[in-house]
């Protein structure tokens, strides 16, 4: 793998703006398709970005998402300033959610977000510090044979 990026993008997100949920993932999806990234890969990236985007909107004050297109993989990183996560293991369990009624009413807060990110990633990493914020990293390999 070459060390330099073929393409890098950064998007910042403000918390609590539910009306904007899905905007970043849709934007990045369009850009990646324009770049000629295989559809199957772009679809996986879109799911990952949707879920990190919704988590920033739901639980953080501010955050940003950075995506890097390398020759053989796409790296997605989401970093936010916010409440952070006390029990990382518990948070990753499918079905666990601290979402309030307002979030649930809109169909978010099923506790499937982190599980989805993991499922659609080849490499998944999460770090968090209570009262500071959360960092999520996802790598999706571009397997030209498979996609």
């Amino acid at each position: 793998m070459k060390s330099e990026s073929e393409f890098v993008g950064n998007v910042s997100i403000v918390g609590h703006g539910f009306e904007y949920a899905g905007r970043v993932s849709n934007e990045i999806k369009k850009i990646l398709l324009e770049q000629g990234i295989p559809e199957g890969i772009v679809r996986r990236v879109a799911v990952v970005i949707f879920e990190v985007e919704v988590n920033i909107i739901s639980y953080a004050e501010t955050g940003f998402i950075r995506y890097q297109v390398l020759p053989d993989s796409i790296i997605i990183e989401a970093k936010d300033k916010g409440q952070g996560i006390a029990d990382i293991e518990l948070a990753q369990q499918e079905g666990y959610s601290t979402a309030d009624d307002k979030i649930r009413e809109m169909g978010f807060g099923a506790g499937m977000g982190l599980a989805n990110i993991k499922k659609f990633s080849d490499v998944f990493e999460i770090n968090s510090e209570v009262g500071k914020g959360t960092y999520v990293k996802s790598i999706i390999n571009i397997d030209k044979k498979r996609s």
Binding site: E19, G22, N26, V47, M106, G107
Partner: protein, 112 residues
């Protein structure tokens, strides 16, 4: 099968994007949990849901759904229709519950 055939047979009320009703429907998905729909639906699906807020348009656009059917006669929010019009995502409303809607569409797609 084209979306307009389903709209006609099911007597759905189309709320926007009539110009896109010629779209091909390749399958379907039912769900109100957005993470479930994001993970498990496919492009070309007709999405059947009880959600009415504008985030459904973002989800359907991201997943390249053929359209959205809102069940039980529930009405999409004004913002939802505006956003759908902008994205070209057809939104239809049925007075029937999900079970009936899905059963009928499944029959249309597989037995007609």
């Amino acid at each position: 099968m084209n979306l307009d055939f389903i709209v006609e047979k099911m007597e759905l009320k189309c709320k926007c994007c009539w110009e896109n009703l010629r779209r091909e429907v390749s399958g379907g998905y039912v769900g109100d949990l957005l993470s479930d729909v994001i993970a498990n639906s496919n492009s070309g699906d007709i999405w059947v849901t009880r959600q009415v807020h504008q985030n459904i348009v973002a989800v359907a656009t991201l997943k390249e759904h053929a359209g959205i059917i809102i069940i039980q006669g529930a009405q999409p929010d004004k913002d939802t229709i505006e956003k759908a019009a902008k994205e070209g995502m057809p939104i239809m409303v049925s007075s029937l519950p999900a079970f009936e809607v899905v059963g009928k569409i499944y029959h249309l797609m597989h037995y007609t």
